[in-house]
Every structure is written in structure tokens, then in C-alpha cells.
Amino acid sequence: MTGPALHGTDAAAPADGGSRGAGLARTPRLRIVLGLARIEALLMVRSMLVLAGLLAGVLAAWGWFWLNPVQPLWWWADWRIGAAQLFLAMTVLVAAQLAAGRPRRDAMADLYASFPATAATRTLACLAGLAGAVPVSVLLAGVGVVMVQLRGTIGAPSIMVLAAGLVLVIAAGAAGTAIGSRFPHPLAGLLGALALFLPTATAHLLPVWSIWLIPWHYFPDQLGWLAGPLTGYPPAGGHAAELAGVAILAAIVALAVTVRSARARGLLATAGVLAVAAVFFAGAVQLEPVPAAELNHLAAEIADPGSVQHCTTASGVRYCLYPGFGRDLSSTEAPVNEVLALLPVRPSQPLTVRQVLSVDFTDTGLTRGQPQQQVSQWTAQTRNAPGNTAAASTIYLTVGEWAAAGSLTDADFNVALATAGWAAGFTPAGQNMPRPGDQAREAIAIWLAILATRPPASELQQGVQWRGLSLRRGRPTFVAIWNYPGTGGVSAAWPSRQPLPAAVYLMAKAMTRLPEQKVSQVLKDRWATWLNPRTTDAQLAAALGIQVPSGPLPPYPQP
């Protein structure tokens, strides 16, 4: 129907008197809104779209928390749970757009216009019906929390950050309602969801100051490398407030499309101005620099971890962990103690296992708004921090990279390997040493780590690979290397982060096929000889009565 129309007009309140208006009942608007909202909420919670969004969010969380071999830290993981809510938010946006556009899309607008309930009432009900997305969002957050908690996570989740994820979903739903009130075609909702997602996918192209324009994306890179939450990084309160402002603004836009009365429009305009102001204010709050005192403290934590760490000595080994990481002590001790138990002779130099931080102060997301001179000072302060250079008797575990806790055998193997390296007398200054692969103690260290942690043999063998070195007369040369299992995050004198020659592993593997007692006896009898850098694999093989193994190797790559 075109021309002057009465669609969705807000009827004025019934007159108290007058001949024709007398006795007319007042509109039970709240009850209508609640009744319709209940139905809309049920439709929302049963929507296949929303369930698909929930599933996508759960899968994303599973990928981040379960497939990722690194132990999550709560001050990082809660933001990730918020990011998982983006998938749900996208589908809630589409579902809300479909709901708001339903009357026009289904050619029911004329019928609905003949009802006492106005279009504004229906829009209000659609907005209230977004309550149906709340339990889904809470469920997603709950699943994320359980996943993270099962990984033995350090710290505690921020309720504010988790709540921001919920607000994100509601804001997306309100945006969907606003879109659907004006554009009923389903494509409009899909475009809206795309508009929600695209800035997230391209946020890395935007300058850091513009990040507040897309508050649903805010995800600071360095959170996972911190030893604890950092005040103001990121500003969770401002983030949640901005999302709430966006939600209110979207709701106002949705209602503005359907409300006709001048008074209601005036109220909406006022609320809209307030919401815009709130969004801008929250955006400005998010651009506030991280307090310099916090960054000073962080720099000190990095440069001199001993000043804040709690150290414990067990079995003659010193463990120094950041506050809050105490419960990782037992899982850190286990592989070390297993190696110690296998040693015929323990080195005289004591071993220290220490956590370190690897934080980049040149990241403008972290140090935005700080004077350049101050940033340079922090960078210089942390340049020679422990962990940046290897030490003979210290194993460094980088927070956020080393997968502590639980049954993470790769991480255990890595620590065991570093401990065996210490036991075998490796030093960081490797000059004047025979090239790697010719020292018997390398194979011995790997054998010790294997016996200490018993990683799956197939996993160890998978580490044997060919690596292209250089082009000689136009043809590449390949060397067999061994990538030992592990996720990094462990820094020690040996092994370095470079892969070892495959021959070292093959020798250790051959040793594991011999009776453990026999190998132990051979090692014990001439321990000092075996630790000599000039003692070769051939000598060790001869002592063990075996040939130096040359395989198995994967097929040589064809050029």
C-alpha cells in the first residue's frame, strides 16, 4: 500500500472523556511486548542459525584452547572467549534481521498494520526477544571457560571481559533488528554479518588508534606473554561500555524506523545523542595509554625476574616462577627429576629452572601514548633480560610459549632434553667444539630425555626430515635433520632452537633398543669420557656393540 499510510502509527493514549473516546481501554503495551518477546526469544534460541553460530564459536574456542599446545593464561583466554562470541554474534545479527523483517518479507505488513499493537511495539519486542541469545551466549562462554579450565589455566577470568562478549552478541542482535526494520530482504542480514566480520579480518591493516571503531575486534597480541593481567591493557571496562553504547544506538535506530509520534522521536533522538556520546567517551577511554607505572613494573619483571619470582629448591634444582604460577611447579619438576634419576653422575654446577617473559615494548598497542624516550628506555632495560641469552646451568621457560601443566608430553620432553643438555655439560659458548652430530653426548642427552618422558616413538621419528640447504650447480642439497618435539618456549644451552642432525636422534633411537641397564652401565663406566665433546658417536656405538645407524630416513626429495 502506498500513499499516506497509517502503518504502525502510535496511537495516542485513550481519552479519559469525550463522547466517542470514553471508556476506551489503555493499551497493555508492556504485556504485549513481553508476550511477543517471549515468542521471539524462543524462536531465537531454537534458530538453526544461532545454533550454527554457537557451534562455530565452540569450534573456534576448541581450536584456540584445545588444539593449541600452549597452556592458556586466563588474562589472554577470556579475550579469546570474547572473540569466539563474534561467530555467535554474526548469526544472531542475521536471525534478528530475519525476525524484524518478517512481516514485510512475508507480505504480512498490511495485516500487522491492522492490529492494535504498533510496529514500534513489535520492534521493541524483537529487541527484547534478543534475550533468547543470552543463554546461548552464556553457554558459549561456559563451554569456553570449561575448555580453558581443563587446560590447567593460570589466573582467573575477568567477568568484565566475558560480559563484553555477551554485550557483543546483544549489540549484533540490535543491529540486526535495526537492519531488518528497514531492509527485510535476507541478504541485508548477511551483509550486516559480513560487515561485522570484515573489519575483524582486516583490522591488522588499521592503525592502532582506530581500533576503537571496531570494539568487537579488540584483541591485544601480547596478552598471552604476560605473567599476569596488566591494568589498562586492554581497557576491558571501556570496551564493554562501547559495545553497550553500540547496542543502545542500534536499538534506537531500530525504533526510530517504526516510531511515528513526535514525542517518542524526540526521546529517541535524545537517547541517541547520549548513546553516541557514550560510544565516543568509551572509545576515548580505550585510547588512554597503559599507565606508565604498570609498564615500569612489567619492564622490571622482565629485566629482573628474580625480584618478583618465588623460588623453590627441590632435589638440588632451583625453580623460580612468577607469582600465580606456583601450581605449575610439580609439572615442571617431573621431567627434570626423571632425568636426574637416570644420571650416573650429577654435574657439580647447580641447575636453575626459571620463567622469563618475552614482551615487545615497541608494540604500539602496548605502549601507545607513551613518550618515545620512555619506550626506548624500557626496550633497553629489557634487552639483556634473562632468557635473551643462554646460560650453562639455567633453563628458561618463556611464559605463554612453554606449555606447562597436564599431560603435555612434548613440553615435558623439551624440559627433559634441556635438563639432559645441562647434565651432559653443554655450554652456550659452542666455539671450538666439534660440529653438532659428532658428539656422543648429544645422543646420550636425547636418550636420557626419551627415557625420562617416554614420548611416542612415532612422534620422535616424524621429526626426521630433509631440509634444503643450498643450490649447488643448480641442484639443491638436502641434509637430514631432526626436529625434536616440543613447542618452543624452552631456552637452554643445549639444544638450541635449531634442529639437530638426524644422525644424533638415530643414534639415540638405536640406544633405546638396547637394554636400559646395559646402556646405563656403559655410560656409568666411562661417564667423563662420554661427556667429552671430542668423543664421537662411533666410539659410543663401539662401546655399546652396535653399528652407527644411518636410517631409517624418509625418501630423499626428488628435485
Binding site: M1, T2, G3, P4, A5, L6, H7, T9, D10, A11, A12, A13, P14, A15, R20, G21, L24, A25, T27, P28, R31, I32, G35, L36, I39, R102, D106, A107, M108, D110, L111, Y112, A113, S114, F115, P116, A117, R122
Partner: protein, 289 residues
């Protein structure tokens, strides 16, 4: 032309409505009493425009409308009209993923039936009236065209409206479904005022005590079906041969030609006119003008 009845459900004075250059309604004066009124007219005659104005969906350019004694231009009274109104638009696609009950429940809320128990009773009542109880839990997309039309009537009946406006409710229905629709309409409880538009003159003859013929935006006739048929009295003949002077002529199932016109064909016999004859004669006259 006015049908003056004291218990008027609808009163229209000088109603006009244009869509650009097209004059959909042209100075329509009309008074409709309670009971069933059939609005007859070809496509584009202005039936839907008139019904949408009566249903308070659109406004006229000029003229005055009174529905159930209330003025739809006044916000408060318009709301009251909507409370007392049941409307079935010409085309509805429905929310096809809703169940029948869920859809009626939804509409009942929109009609301000907010008490849950009363709503359930009301939904059950209209399901019974329209014979849709068996399909209460069915998704709308599984219903046949006739059932969807009944569902449309069911939603219009929610709340026991005093005025039912049905825009071509029998369109697309097969003869049996049309018969059922007539049954349904004739047996509605509460005796609401009903205005229905249709192309089907036999629907009018069957159930409408009053009929209004709308042609080119103007009321050409308002009265009883017998009165409409009577306008063709003395101008309808049956003959064995076709007569070229007749305004309209067609061969019936009995093989004889039926003529409507001013001249008696040779060998023809005068027959009793039907509502359709009267309507066709009016249409022809309006077209000739």
C-alpha cells in the same frame, strides 16, 4: 448511492484516493449495515483500496470514514477500531516456519489478548470455528491453499471482532473449499459485520444480504443481491443463435446462447436474471461510459 440503515457498521462520505494518475476511489458514499456485505468489482475497481481504508491501514485523500461509529483519523479511535476489527488482506504469505497455533498465538498477542489462558482458549475457539484443530501443530508451510485461507480467517476471528474485512477470501479456492467458506461465514458466532470483496457473483448471491458493486472507483450499485439481479430484469434472453446486438453473450452448458442486452434476439425467450447478469450489465454500462 447510499444504503441507509440505522445500525451502520461503516459510513463513508465523499471518499477519494489516488495513486499517482490513477483514481482508485472517486467520491464514494456508502453506508454498510451489520451482516454480510459483498463488495463486487473487477480487478482495479478500488475494492482493496476501500477495504484497506476501512481497515485503518491507509488514509483517503479526501472524504470521511466512520467505522463502528469511530473516526480512524483520531489516534485513540483508530486504536479502538483496530481492537474491534478482523482483517484478512488479499495476499498473505504467512510465516511459513510457524506452526498454526504459534502463528495464531502471535497474532492474538498483537490483538492485545495478553492473558495466556484466555489466549489459549481463543486460539482453540478459532481453530474449531475454522476446522483447523487437526492441523494445530502443523507448520504453515505444510498447509494447502484452502487451509491457509482458513487460517487467515481464523486470525481475523481472534478476539471476536465486531467488523470482519475479508479481501477476496475465496480467491484460489476450489468449489468445495468455497462452499466450506460460505458455511463458515454463515455460521460465525457473534454476528459480526462482515465486508468481503470478491469477483465471484455466486458467492455474493449465496451468502450476502447486501451487495455493493464498485466499478472504476465508483459505487455503481448498493442493495440486495435480488436488487442487483433485478437491474437486468427484461434484458436477459436465452436463444439458439447468437445475436450480435447483445452487449454480452455466451453459450451455456445446455448449448443455448445467453444474451444480455436491450434487444430481444429472434426466437429468444426472456429468462430470470441472476446476480451475475446484473453485475455484468452494470460492468458493461460503466465500460461504455
Amino acid at each position: 448511492m447510499t444504503l441507509n440503515v440505522s445500525t451502520a457498521a461503516v459510513r463513508v462520505d465523499g471518499l477519494s484516493r489516488r495513486y499517482g494518475a490513477i483514481r482508485a476511489l472517486d467520491a464514494v458514499d456508502l453506508t454498510l449495515e451489520r451482516g454480510i456485505t459483498g463488495l463486487l468489482g473487477p480487478n482495479g475497481a478500488g475494492k482493496t483500496t476501500l477495504l484497506s481504508i476501512l481497515a485503518t491501514i491507509s488514509e483517503p485523500d479526501t472524504g470521511r470514514v466512520s467505522v463502528l461509529g469511530l473516526d480512524p483519523r483520531d489516534g485513540t479511535e483508530r486504536l479502538e477500531i483496530r481492537r474491534r476489527l478482523g482483517y484478512l488482506p488479499q495476499e498473505l504469505r504467512y510465516h511459513r516456519h510457524f506452526t498454526v497455533t504459534a502463528f495464531l498465538d502471535y497474532v492474538a498477542i498483537l490483538k492485545e489478548i495478553t492473558d495466556r489462558r484466555r489466549r489459549a482458549e481463543e486460539v482453540a475457539r478459532v481453530l474449531a470455528v475454522t476446522g483447523l484443530e487437526d492441523r494445530a501443530r502443523s507448520r504453515i508451510r505444510t498447509l494447502s491453499g484452502g487451509m491457509r485461507r482458513r487460517l487467515g480467517i481464523a486470525q481475523a476471528l481472534l478476539g471476536g471482532p465486531e467488523l470482519l474485512i475479508l479481501d477476496e477470501p475465496t480467491a484460489g479456492l476450489d468449489p468445495e473449499q468455497r462452499l466450506r467458506f460460505r458455511e463458515l461465514l454463515s455460521g460465525l458466532p457473534g454476528d459480526p459485520a462482515i465486508v468481503l470483496s470478491t469477483h465471484q457473483a455466486d458467492d455474493i448471491a449465496a451468502i450476502c444480504p447486501q451487495v455493493v458493486v464498485l466499478l472504476q472507483g465508483r459505487v455503481q450499485f448498493a442493495g440486495t443481491p435480488a436488487g442487483l439481479a433485478g437491474t437486468a430484469a427484461g434484458r436477459v434472453w436465452a436463444a439458439d443463435e447468437r445475436d450480435s446486438r447483445a452487449h454480452l453473450s455466451w453459450r451455456g452448458g445446455d448449448g443455448r446462447w445467453r444474451h444480455i442486452g436491450e434487444h430481444c434476439p429472434a426466437g429468444a425467450e426472456l429468462v430470470t436474471p441472476t446476480v451475475e447478469d446484473g453485475y455484468l450489465l452494470l460492468s458493461h454500462a460503466a465500460g461504455a461510459r
